[in-house]
């Protein structure tokens, strides 16, 4: 079974747990599709980093990359309340309202809340449960539509 794109991204960022990372590495040795996917992810990460550093985009990078980044920023703004609400719901399900209120400060950013949710769940329920919960939080929060709107 092929790992999901999100898992490959986490793998390339060395954010997976050691056991899971080893399993993915073993799978990658034998799967050309996933190797290609990982290469694609790495390339796009490099391009994004180059853009963030103010360097000119590499050859072959779509000209609308800046617009895509703008769309991502727009998505972050648009999806933040939903993300916050879902993260709070996950904490309430597994811990309770008290834990959710303690974690969700009024000034906390949505991505910060998501990271804290991941850390809390990993500490008390294990890495697999935490990753599953975060996948649940992110499910359906697609920015494809926003990207299409601003793309040239």
């Amino acid at each position: 079974m092929h790992p999901e794109t999100a898992t490959l991204v986490a793998f390339s960022d060395a954010e997976l747990a050691p056991g899971r990372s080893q399993r993915i590495a073993r799978h990658l040795q034998n799967c050309s599709k996933c190797q290609a996917a990982l290469e694609c992810i790495s390339k796009e990460k490099r391009d994004f980093s180059a853009l963030a550093d103010g360097l000119p985009p590499a050859a072959g990078v779509p000209r609308g990359l800046a617009a895509v980044l703008q769309a991502i920023a727009g998505w972050r703004q648009a999806a933040a309340p939903e993300l916050r609400s879902r993260a709070r719901a996950q904490i309430e399900i597994y811990f309770g309202c008290g834990a959710a209120s303690m974690l969700e400060r009024p000034d906390i950013r949505a991505d910060e809340l998501l990271a804290k949710t991941l850390a809390l769940m990993a500490a008390f329920l294990g890495q697999d449960a935490a990753e599953a919960a975060v996948e649940d939080i992110l499910r359906g929060l697609d920015c494809a539509a926003l990207t299409a709107e601003v793309s040239p």
Binding site: E4, A123, D128, A129, A144
Partner: protein
């Protein structure tokens, strides 16, 4: 949010434990009622206590197994992994001590241990395993858990009533230590560790109260209740032996330890159920994730 059916049934483990405990206690009450009403007319023999002891050991086996499952939920190096490992060892010590105790106490003619010259040593080993060793391992595991809870901000000052209850248990333990009957080393150590456990239980209870009513909070609350019931059981046995030696009150001895064992099994059951619930959700297709927008050129699977 969609969830898959949990075919392994572990998500319902807490319900099974609560149901088994309720049934056990109800049957015990019914037997006690029958006994108290029929005893004047019929000669009914009291059980040896072995059945009650075995049921507690059975619950400790369930606890050990569930602690093993909880332990395996955590990656090496995770802070709570060590806590669950110690609690698993504690449950295993309880099982080993309980079984050894039953084997060395069973007055059955075919019991080969009865003829053994080392039966006294075996009995002592059983008392140590199921007493100080089990409690010390549990105290160490809960201390590790309290550290993690504190690190995440789940820490609250116990209320006055909590301190009062803990004070009563500690005074009781100290008083019992002074008694000649409880003067043996095993009971002294056991009572001392019980004092530590009660204090830990108090802090666990407050931490769980900070969290709310989710399964993780219930897990730590169940440990606290298990310790409170252990303290209550010690006090009840002491009071029964001292002030109510006759039936039917003395029959409560049979049912004192089962609720405590059930709470100890309920704690890992809540955690395992929560993990199963989290990991048992339907996994999303990758194209629903936001990262899909970053990787539009990925080859289709």
């Amino acid at each position: 949010m969609t969830r898959t059916e949990d075919w392994s049934g572990l998500e319902s483990a807490p319900r099974w434990i609560i149901m088994a405990t309720g049934t056990y206690l109800l049957l015990g009450l019914f037997a006690l009622y029958v006994w108290s009403t029929a005893e004047p007319a019929l000669s009914i023999q009291a059980p040896s206590g072995g059945a009650e002891g075995l049921s507690v050991v059975g619950m400790a086996v369930a606890q050990a197994w569930l602690c093993l499952l909880a332990f395996r939920c955590f990656e090496p190096g995770a802070p709570l992994r060590r806590a669950w490992f110690l609690m698993m060892l504690s449950a295993a010590a309880h099982v080993a001590g309980g079984l050894l105790g039953q084997a060395s106490e069973t007055a059955w003619l075919l019991n080969p241990l009865l003829a053994s010259a080392r039966i006294g040593q075996l009995h002592r080993a059983a008392l140590i395993l199921a007493g100080p060793v089990q409690m010390a391992l549990l105290a160490a595991g809960l201390l590790a858990a309290l550290r993690v809870l504190g690190k995440f901000g789940f820490r609250a000052r116990p209320k006055a009533i909590g301190w009062a209850a803990a004070g009563i248990v500690i005074l009781f333990a100290l008083y019992r230590c002074g008694e000649a009957a409880a003067g043996s080393g095993i009971f002294l150590v056991r009572d001392a560790i019980l004092c530590v456990l009660v204090l830990e239980a108090l802090l666990l209870w407050q931490s769980a109260a900070c969290m709310g009513r989710g399964p993780v909070a219930k897990c730590w609350r169940a440990f606290a209740l298990g310790i409170f019931f252990t303290g209550f059981g010690e006090a009840a046995l002491w009071a029964i032996a001292r002030y109510f030696p006759g039936w039917p009150v003395a029959a409560l001895e049979w049912y004192v330890w089962f609720p405590a064992a059930a709470f100890f099994a309920l704690a890992p059951a809540h955690l395992v159920a929560a993990v199963r619930s989290a990991t048992g959700r339907v996994t999303s297709p990758s194209d629903e994730l936001p990262v899909r927008a970053f990787t539009p050129a990925l080859p289709a699977r």
